[in-house]
Symmetry: C2
Subunit: 333 residues, 2 copies
Amino acid sequence: MPTGPDTPPTIADVAREAAVSKTTASDALRGHGRVSEPTRRAVLAAAERLGYAPNRSARSLRTSVTETIALHIPEFLTSAEYYMSFVFGVAEQAARAGLNVTLLSSGHLPHRGTVPQVDGLVLCDPVAEDPLVEQLMNSGLPVVTAERYVGDKQPTGVIWSDHETSMTELLDHLYDSGAHCPAFIASDTTSDWSTTLQRTHARWCRDRGVPKLDHGAPFGSAPDVLRGVVRDMLAETPRIDAVVCAADGAAAAVLPELRAAGRTVGHDLLLASCVDSTAMRTAEPPITAVDLRPRAMGAECARLLCEILSGETPRGTVRTLPIDMNIRASTRP
Amino acid sequence: MPTGPDTPPTIADVAREAAVSKTTASDALRGHGRVSEPTRRAVLAAAERLGYAPNRSARSLRTSVTETIALHIPEFLTSAEYYMSFVFGVAEQAARAGLNVTLLSSGHLPHRGTVPQVDGLVLCDPVAEDPLVEQLMNSGLPVVTAERYVGDKQPTGVIWSDHETSMTELLDHLYDSGAHCPAFIASDTTSDWSTTLQRTHARWCRDRGVPKLDHGAPFGSAPDVLRGVVRDMLAETPRIDAVVCAADGAAAAVLPELRAAGRTVGHDLLLASCVDSTAMRTAEPPITAVDLRPRAMGAECARLLCEILSGETPRGTVRTLPIDMNIRASTRP
DNA sequence: TACCGTTGCCGGAACGTTCCGGCAAGGTAT
DNA sequence: ATACCTTGCCGGAACGTTCCGGCAACGGTA
């Protein structure tokens, strides 16, 4: 390991080592100018020998490209598994493209009104009311959103899933399994996902001619709040024969309450969740849920952003991510 | 919004606006040189008027300070709630100190053998075998680890929790509640946390004179693997009267199996987890668990790193994060 | 021979910031 | 009066990179 003094080698060191000029060294490394094959190899060898790595700051100053994207995810009290997987999907895909990922916490923005100095942004489940989201949308930077943005301004790229279809399938599945009076515990956020679920549920009830039974609960609601909601609904409408929960983890939280009400989940009462997670898989009985494939979602967002940044995909591209329903014992009467 | 052409204002623009030199503008903004009060105010006003924000790349090139820290968390179980909270703890605290956080995914490092260009690193639950961890430890950058590092090289700072004491308290609690034959489902990772739990369990059994019943399971084991382990243990040693699970979420996954074995959790069999999570709170019955306070852990790591970077805290500082046990119905016979 | 296009390489300016050293103006002690 | 310090400001170099434009050498064509 031929480490010099203690300051990392610069391109000037590489150039000297290879007995060429800075320009030629740079051209050889970037593959940019006209460099003969032997010279190119000599430069590469010199760089390897010295352990040269380009200084990102200098390069970024010169090219005004930061090789960094920022990731914003909504901050709820509950730490939802969905977002975790999403973050890692983004991180992995970005690393594959040689990009850094920096996290934007909703709470603190370094300087009020200052936009982060990055090449692009990924917004997960953008809530139109969030002032930071709005600011980022108007930053002029390329923005890819996971799920559609309900504001006026359109993002540079979108990956979304067809929750309308999957919610309909879920309700149909319950209906086919004999549940003709399902209750829906909606999520109170104003994300596109949340409102789509509510709209779809309402229309499905109308189409099927069944009563529309729903109740909103804030996304990160505590278990006992959710249980209270369910208790009240069951007390008010005893003929409820299925419960669908929107929020991540809510179905599992509600399970004991159903049991306490004397119902047997999977038999005289079906239970399903709009978000799959370990909690759904490990519940007793395991709970039918829609797998939103968060890791794939994150990866696709990062991929699209990379493609837009490199110009190989036009701005305004919209793609969909297929999602599946995992049918489990909680809806098999 | 007095936006110029379309390129953001530089410090030269601010200087011109305030009718001073670049040097004076810089000094006034940084509070560094000797600047009279009226001049200082004029520069600040000019900067405000133009919406000036310093170019991070230029600044970083000049000062060789990136204002960025990197965060590495083990790849194997990225969906664990613990890590999610940890990440947000770091992000929030770093934002408070004006630092960016970039994620390091274990899978891909931009260039093999290249160290990220950041000011410092936070490693969560460092596993000595992970080659990336080893490389980061030897990068020469300040490193703060969450939990101790079991390799030879010592991190620049450490935040750790006293799992020995809390595990002992947990086992004592079970013992006092009548469970004299507890089984321990250990986690198979080589992190300090994991080995401490196993060591403590072994010693506790010796001290108490109870049989040492344990079995390792990989950290991210699937629910049915865990259930299989428990089934076998119960079949082999029917007098087991308590089960303690190390891995995040494992206790909830195992619950149905205990029920299937004809045991009543909280009565003739106690159940506890070494990691608290929503799954523990929402389980039926709710499961006693050690709250590792991951968000606080993340925040403390970031805080310590900031302090070390700013020089206000010496290298080699080691701090502990207190953790509590949450006693729930699963251990109240 | 004269002309021209191509190839391979290089000098040096520029990106935006920080900060060293210098300088003039004014004050104070000798 | 000289000597000296302090205050307030500034010129300009440096950080490491990219890339524009230029130049010499060479081979091919007329």
